[in-house]
């Protein structure tokens, strides 16, 4: 592997000093002079016609500066699936009817948060409750209430994927099994709630919005649609973001209503959600019903696989339609599946909508497929690690018409795992088990539902006279550490230090488009754009260096360690800082600039590259309480050339934490569309004492599509965590799980079931 000066070296977070001193400003920390506070009045009904709204009493409250209802909004509908106009279904405030508990119906701006809150109590809304539907199976029935006009049977989106000859595959299989699963919803629970600050400039007609988002560009597009303004008249700035995890892709009513209220009052308006609003009205991981059928040969080779899923989409689309697609894709990875069929339906229902949460479809999908695979392995008498190795893809593997793995280290990962597990856990105690799960995940998605005419990623590099570099991009650091990665890539390419880079990120006014942070795309896509931009500047410096050195054209020059020199004769070179000065002087005083872009082409339907690996967990089950203790976690992953090992480790461990939550305790029980646990008191999140230690081993590969060979290292490890736990419990006790949250009561029931089954089979065996 190539030796880099910066890439691959553990590098502290460039935002570190700001974040450890409290100086880092998040949207929630921002205020503007003369600012008003906004609040949203929300529907208490899951489905109801709005008969009337009386705001007169609220308007009389001193301090209330504006109250708007649906009719006062510009009325533009928005969504991320702009290529399918009818799926742009979100609106600022409900006009005719509300579609879930929490759908906003009015917005207030007042001089204090307290007055705004009090004003909400004074608004009288008359509703006519309508029959509602909360479950995907009910939603597609003929007589189900319709959530949206023009969507009969509440079918919001469908997805079909097929390759090979599935029916023939099953006919040739020695072993076929079907399993049905019910997957629970889970909330991303970013620590910073959704919040936005909007400031409309009456004089210029321009709007500036600071918001906690993963994609300033998406917000800019959506605001333009919602407000019927030109995109160019809207500037969206992403300050530090207190967590994203896929829950901050869609533009939410906070941003839109803050903007409308600011346009109406001429004053800056800020809307901050409460934690219960965050839980009940922002996007979550979709609940779904899944059926899987798998056919294998006696030796464990998968010959056919069929998956049917119905997702409980909720009231609007968000990125749920993409999730539906990716569920059907990730469920096949990282295995060679010669014959595959997938059908998914996303249903509209009267709950808050589910969308693109961390793992983007892979999390429920892998839960089902990997627990099924363990059962199949047991029936066939094959070791669970061996069945995964046997079916794992190899470099160059292509799922027809869907995706292709270029760099691919899954086989070596599994081999390394087999060795390490033997060393690490040589003996199991009573009621202990080891669960495995192999995984793969994209490095940014090749989808254009947003219908952007621009390149997917871009970056602009400006080198100043003193050698400092201004790096501009709309790319979003949402905590994953992209700012550090961006600075590292830029510095490596220019052969300078991270301290030379000044970042200007996440502002739509500063840079060309970048689609933002989702689907683990920034390192590969934005990284390629940055590398491209920096390379252009580097080339200018090399050209000048070549002139000044007067060297033979056959010699290659490189930029490294703040010098530009002959690759084969490193002593012959010039200082980067000197060259920059010369270059700018020679160029009529114009700073050196480069603008890089990246859009994947001819890379299949999903992504240019995939991170992958295998996870193992050792867990112990308490047969009396049903408690599952995850004792130890081992991950072997291939994330290509890792840019920053510190950040990569953080991503892997954080993903495991969230994935374990999905597997053990995080759930969103609802009653008639109402969430029953919308506070951290009742929504259980694993704490530090609940987390096992995690060992991570790398199998580096070189990804030709990534900057410096890099690819995904962010989200892949969320999906395997829950199936690993379930499989560990299965290995320890035989308990089978058909849903994801292993609460003690559920575990206890499953263990009792398994004991009964074992007894029965013993009896018949005799």
């Amino acid at each position: 592997m190539k030796e880099y000066s910066i890439i691959g070296k553990p590098t502290p977070n460039v935002d570190g000093p700001a974040k450890v001193t409290g100086e880092a400003a998040y949207t929630i920390d921002m205020t503007l002079p003369n600012m008003l506070y906004g609040k949203l009045l929300r529907s208490p009904y899951p489905h109801a016609n709005i008969l009337s709204i009386d705001t007169s009493k609220a308007e009389e409250l001193p301090g209330v500066k504006a109250i708007i209802t649906g009719k006062d909004t510009p009325g533009g509908k928005w969504g991320l699936w702009r290529r399918f106009r009818e799926l742009s279904d979100q609106q600022a405030l409900a006009t005719d009817k509300v579609r879930f508990i929490g759908d906003p119906v009015a917005a207030v701006a007042a001089t204090t948060e307290e007055i705004a809150e009090k004003a909400l109590d004074l608004i009288e809304v008359e509703y006519e409750p309508l029959p509602a539907v909360f479950d995907p199976i009910e939603a597609i029935k003929d007589d189900a209430p319709m959530v949206h006009e023009d969507f009969p049977s509440n079918i919001n989106a469908t997805r079909h994927i097929e390759w090979g000859d599935v029916d023939k595959g099953f006919a040739e299989a020695d072993y076929v099994r079907e399993d049905r699963f019910v997957l629970e919803a889970a909330h991303p629970c970013a620590m910073e709630v959704h919040n936005s600050l909007a400031s409309y400039d009456k004089g210029t007609g321009r709007l500036t919005v600071w918001t906690s988002t993963g994609s300033p560009y998406f917000v800019q597009q959506n605001l333009a649609e919602a407000l019927k303004l030109r995109e160019g008249d809207i500037r969206v700035i992403k300050p530090h973001v207190g967590g994203h995890y896929g829950g901050k892709n869609s533009t939410m009513p906070d941003a839109v209503n803050a903007a409308i209220l600011s346009m109406k009052t001429g004053r800056p308006v800020k809307i901050v959600y409460n934690r219960d609003e965050e839980f009940t009205t922002t996007e979550h991981r979709t609940a779904q019903n899944m059926a899987l059928k798998i056919g294998l040969k006696k030796d464990g080779t998968i010959v056919a696989f069929e998956v049917k899923t119905m997702t409980n989409g909720g009231a609007y689309t968000g990125l749920g339609a993409t999730t539906l697609y990716l569920t059907g894709t990730f469920i096949t990875m990282p295995y060679k599946i010669p014959n595959y069929r997938y059908d998914g339906v996303r249903t509209y229902t009267n709950i808050v909508w589910g969308t693109s949460i961390r793992g983007f479809g892979a999390v429920p999908a892998k839960y089902c497929s990997e627990t099924q695979l363990d059962r199949a392995a047991k029936d066939l008498g094959i070791d669970p690690l061996e069945i995964r190795r046997k079916n794992a893809v190899i470099p160059g593997y292509e799922a027809p018409g869907q995706y292709k793995f270029e760099s691919c280290g899954i086989q070596p990962c599994i081999e390394k795992m087999a060795v390490r597990v033997k060393e690490k856990w040589p003996k199991l105690e009573k009621d202990e088990g080891i669960g495995y799960c192999a995984f793969a995940y994209m490095s940014g998605g090749i989808f254009n539902w947003i219908d952007t005419p621009y390149a997917y990623s871009s970056a602009h590099v400006k080198v100043n006279w003193d050698g400092t570099v201004d790096l501009y991009s709309q790319a979003a650091d949402v905590g994953q550490g992209h700012n550090t990665v961006a600075a590292m890539i830029c510095a490596e390419e220019l052969g300078i230090g991270i301290e030379d880079i000044r970042l200007h990120m996440g502002d739509t006014a500063h840079a060309y488009t970048d689609l933002g942070a989702w689907g683990s795309r920034e390192t590969l896509m934005n990284g390629n754009a940055i590398k491209d931009a920096a390379a252009q500047v580097k080339q200018k410096l090399i050209d000048i260096a070549r002139l000044k050195l007067g060297e033979n054209i056959a010699y290659d020059l490189v930029a490294k360690n703040k010098r530009i020199f002959l690759e084969l004769r490193p002593e012959r070179g010039l200082s980067y800082y000197d060259l920059v000065k010369d270059a700018i002087r020679a160029n009529d005083g114009v700073p050196l600039t480069g603008t890089g872009h990246y859009t994947p082409h001819n890379k299949g339907m999903i992504s240019p590259a995939y991170g992958m690996g295998i996870m193992a967990m050792k867990a112990k089950v308490d047969r009396e309480t049903g408690h599952v203790t995850v004792q130890d976690v081992l991950v072997v992953h291939d994330s290509g050339q890792i840019i920053n090992p510190l950040g990569a480790r953080g991503q892997v461990e954080g993903s495991i934490h969230m994935g374990l939550g999905y597997g053990l305790c995080e759930e969103m029980p609802m009653d008639q569309g109402m969430l029953l646990n919308p506070e951290f008191v009742d929504y259980k999140i694993l704490r530090t004492r609940d987390m096992p230690e995690i060992e991570i081993l790398d199998v580096p590969t070189y990804e030709p599509n990534g900057p410096f060979g890099a690819k995904e290292a962010a989200e892949a490890t969320i999906a395997p965590a829950a199936p690993c736990v379930a499989n560990a419990v299965y290995q320890a006790t035989g308990a089978e799980f058909y849903s994801n949250v292993l609460k003690p009561e559920k575990v206890l029931k499953a263990i009792r079931e398994a004991e009964k089954k074992q007894k029965a089979s013993k009896a018949t065996g005799k």
Binding site: P12, N13, D15, G16, P17, A18, K19, V20, T21, G22, E23, A24, A25, Y26, I28, D29, P188, C189, A190, M191, E192, V193, H240, V241, G242, G243, H244, Y245, N274, R275, D276, V478, G479, Q480, G481, L646, G647, R649, G650, Q651, E653, G654, S655, I656, H657, M658, E679, F680, V681, I685, R687, T688, R689, M691, E693, I694
Partner: protein, 167 residues
């Protein structure tokens, strides 16, 4: 009716008037503009807003401001020595003990309270102290390592100082 609140925050004495319903976190964030202390829940269950009140880590969202009358508060803004970061802050950076950083101030303040009381905590002791803190990014292990690292730094700083004193 507003009442007098005398409070020392990060070494600065303040003489304020607050409504009785005001919470300590509101004084810190809104009246004093110290936005480094964050709030992430409405049910006192995340500890993001942790500050040190008379030497104890407390959740500033769950303390009435008037109950802090006459007391000393230390927030994240008061930790660094001028431009020199506190060893805990430096250890958090060097160990990648945060990602989005939103819960970090509270984590660091709790860590500070722990290390003041127990300069050489075990992993279990760190976990006990930090158990109230929700972090959605890190999975906690890197935070624990940072705190252990900080303990070492503080100890070597101390022994360096006492060494100087002896010389």
């Amino acid at each position: 009716m507003k009442q007098q609140l005398k409070i020392v925050v990060n070494g600065e004495p303040y003489d304020l008037f607050v409504e009785p319903k005001t919470l300590l976190v509101q004084v810190i964030r809104e009246m004093l503009g110290l936005k480094g202390t964050h709030q992430a829940c409405d049910s006192s269950s995340c500890a993001a807003c942790t500050v040190i009140l008379d030497g104890m880590a407390v959740k500033s969202c769950s303390v009435l401001a008037l109950q802090a009358n006459g007391k000393e508060v230390l927030t994240i803004e008061g930790l660094a020595d001028g431009t020199k970061l506190h060893p805990i802050q430096q250890a958090f950076i060097d160990n990648w003990a945060f990602q989005c950083g939103f819960c970090t101030s509270g984590q660091i303040m709790a860590a500070k309270a722990l290390l003041d009381e127990n300069p050489n905590p075990t992993r279990e002791e760190i976990q006990e102290q930090m158990d109230g803190h929700i972090c959605r990014c890190t999975g906690y292990n890197m935070i624990n390592e940072a705190i252990r690292d900080a303990a070492k730094r503080l100890q070597s700083e101390k022994s360096a100082q006492s060494g100087k004193g002896a010389a």
